[in-house]
């Protein structure tokens, strides 16, 4: 597909045009950048590294209603996701889009998850290539991603200085390009070449890496290895590594009853790092300590997920490293896995 240009002067215009849909963009919230719905283009903050919280909640909300009920009544009112309407996530990083493509596999595995899949169908992902790695702990290139990766994206923007290069990648992306036809212009002949140079340079700036080859096959054999006790010793079990992970998708289901017996069954993010996550009604817990829970977290991402879906459930965004309160570093863990015998 022919590439286009979006002059930086016209970004506000373009966002204005897109705000006729449900427009999600990075925006400042206190002193961090988060993805949120904006109605005023001025709210968007496109000069950012990566958001503290990944934009996964727009496909998989932190809490969402599955259905509403009135206690004692047989009528169940299913949540209609369609009502949320066409959604554009503007400016997400390639790693976060790739994470969605990875999680899609789980939510379409055998049983279609109607809530998640409907939202994904309604959503167009407009990515922003990482000209500079957003964090010192980025390691996307070790997981098959890249700062200019396109997996999961419908459209990719590249910051070229005074303008963005616009590449439509899918039919949805093409449609969005048409929506923005009065803001976009044809790209210059050497724009694509320049973008490739920037991409190569950006890859070279990724500082951290891990050789993932062999890890999925090796992990099961390290079940009783002492490394799990060592690496989990400092863990507080706060769960932030999973809440901020763009591929973590585990959830709880709870019923909430409001006034007059009206209520809803909802699901909400849960974390395998919590004790309650696996505890039986009898009180027995098959993963009683943080050692077992950490072991499960790493195995789930780097062994079970590739076993089922042929892809590691980690995109190397570095959030779990950046935000762990006790500096647990997944790359240190993986190094120990590689070194263990």
């Amino acid at each position: 597909m022919a590439v286009k240009r979006l002059s930086k002067e016209k970004v506000a215009d373009a966002l204005g045009e897109l705000s006729k849909f449900r427009l999600i963009a990075p925006a400042k919230s206190d002193d961090v950048v988060v993805f949120k719905q904006i109605s005023d283009p001025a709210e968007a903050c496109l000069d950012y590294g990566n958001s503290t919280v990944p934009p996964k909640k727009f496909a998989f909300p932190q809490t969402e209603t599955l259905f509403r009920f009135v206690t004692g009544s047989p009528e169940l009112e299913e949540k209609n996701v369609e009502e949320e309407g066409t959604t554009i996530i503007f400016g997400l990083r390639p790693c976060d889009a790739r994470a969605m493509a990875i999680v899609d596999k789980l939510f379409a595995w055998d049983f279609d998850d109607p809530y998640y899949l409907k939202r994904r169908e309604l959503t167009t992902l407009v990515g922003m290539a990482c000209v500079e790695p957003p964090s010192v702990n980025c390691f996307c290139t070790s997981l098959g991603g890249s700062p200019f990766g396109t997996e999961g994206l419908d459209l990719l923007l590249t910051d070229m200085g005074d303008h963005y290069l616009v590449q439509a990648l899918t039919d949805k992306g093409k449609k969005l390009e048409e929506t923005l036809s009065s803001q976009l212009e044809g790209a210059a002949a050497d724009d694509e070449k320049k973008a490739k140079e920037i991409a190569a340079e950006a890859e070279g700036k990724i500082r951290r890496s891990i050789a993932t080859g062999g890890i999925p096959e090796k992990l099961p054999g390290l079940w009783e290895n002492e490394l799990w006790k060592k690496i989990s010793a400092a863990c507080l079990g706060c769960g932030i590594c999973t809440f901020l992970c763009p591929t973590c998708h585990c959830f709880d289901i709870q019923d909430e009853v409001e006034e007059l017996g009206e209520g809803r069954r909802c699901r909400m993010w849960d974390s395998c790092m919590f004790e309650e996550y696996t505890v039986h009604a009898s009180g027995h817990n098959p993963r009683p300590t943080r050692k077992e829970r950490t072991r499960n977290r790493i195995n789930h991402k780097y062994s079970y997920y590739p076993d089922k879906f042929d892809v590691i459930a980690c995109v190397g965004c570095g959030r779990c490293i950046n935000l762990c309160p006790v500096n647990i570093d997944i790359l240190d863990i993986l190094d120990q896995v590689v070194d263990a015998s």
Binding site: L66, F67, F69, T71, P74, L76, E78, L106, F107, W109, D110, F111, D112, D113, P114, Y115, P220, W223, E224, H249, C250, F251, D252, I253, Q254, D255, V257, G261, G263, R265, R267, D270, C272, Y277, T278, V279, H280, A281, S282, P286, R287, E292, N296, N299, H300, S303, Y304, D307, K308
Partner: protein
Amino acid sequence: MKNPYIPYQVNIIDAWYEAPGERCIKTFKVTFADEKLWDTWSHLPGQCAMVGTPGVGESMFCISSSPTEKGYLRFSIMKAGMNTSALHELEAGDSLFIRGPLGNSFPVEEWKGKNVVTIGGGIGQAPLRPVIQWIRDNRSDYGELELVYGARTSEDHCFKAEFEEIGQSGDCECHLSIDVEEEKWPHFVGFVPSLLMEVAPKPDNTIAVTCGPPVMINFVLQNLEKLGFTPEQVYTTLENRMKCGIGKCGRCNVGHLYVCKDGPVFSYAQLKEIPEAFA
């Protein structure tokens, strides 16, 4: 396709206690409120369903009736937590909600022509009941059927009347036990794994299926090995905390297997390789 998170309403036809006490067991016999659902419903022995009521929650239970029993489903539920306590309040005429059938099943088709021995303990007989009923309703397709079952006391025995009837029917051999001596108890006294050694089923062309408390399963598996059963001849079911029942919510895995979707039925050959299987 139907939304797999939306449960069906079922009406309780009958409900009774199997065993008394703090962790009492109650059986519910239910039918769909919308009778048309029977046209599309089909399950196999070993499959499960989420059972509960909106406002309280839902939990996973095996369907303890065989598909050969028409017009109803059965669930036998031990009182253990919030949801099961609420379920125990329900009586005939009340309704509850189920989602299913979920999970895999015992490979009863593959077992045709073989002998089957079931080894159950306590509420662990619930997933074995549909296997037994299935074989009895397809009697000529299978070889010998032998039942080994025990509970702590005679009062704790589930499906008492059925065991009596089965014992007298001549369909199969029935071996019962209790853990501690009681007056007038005519059967074995001791733990189920010991009873199994007394009965000593022969492994030739035989499938062993066992369900019960983890400690019992552990010794039953060891004893079956002593009796010459290979891991491929032995089946059991696992249970873990579950929320979705369809392989999404993440929590019920043992190693790379989701108990809700890859299970609950596993051969011992499968589980031997999974260090977390009996955690």
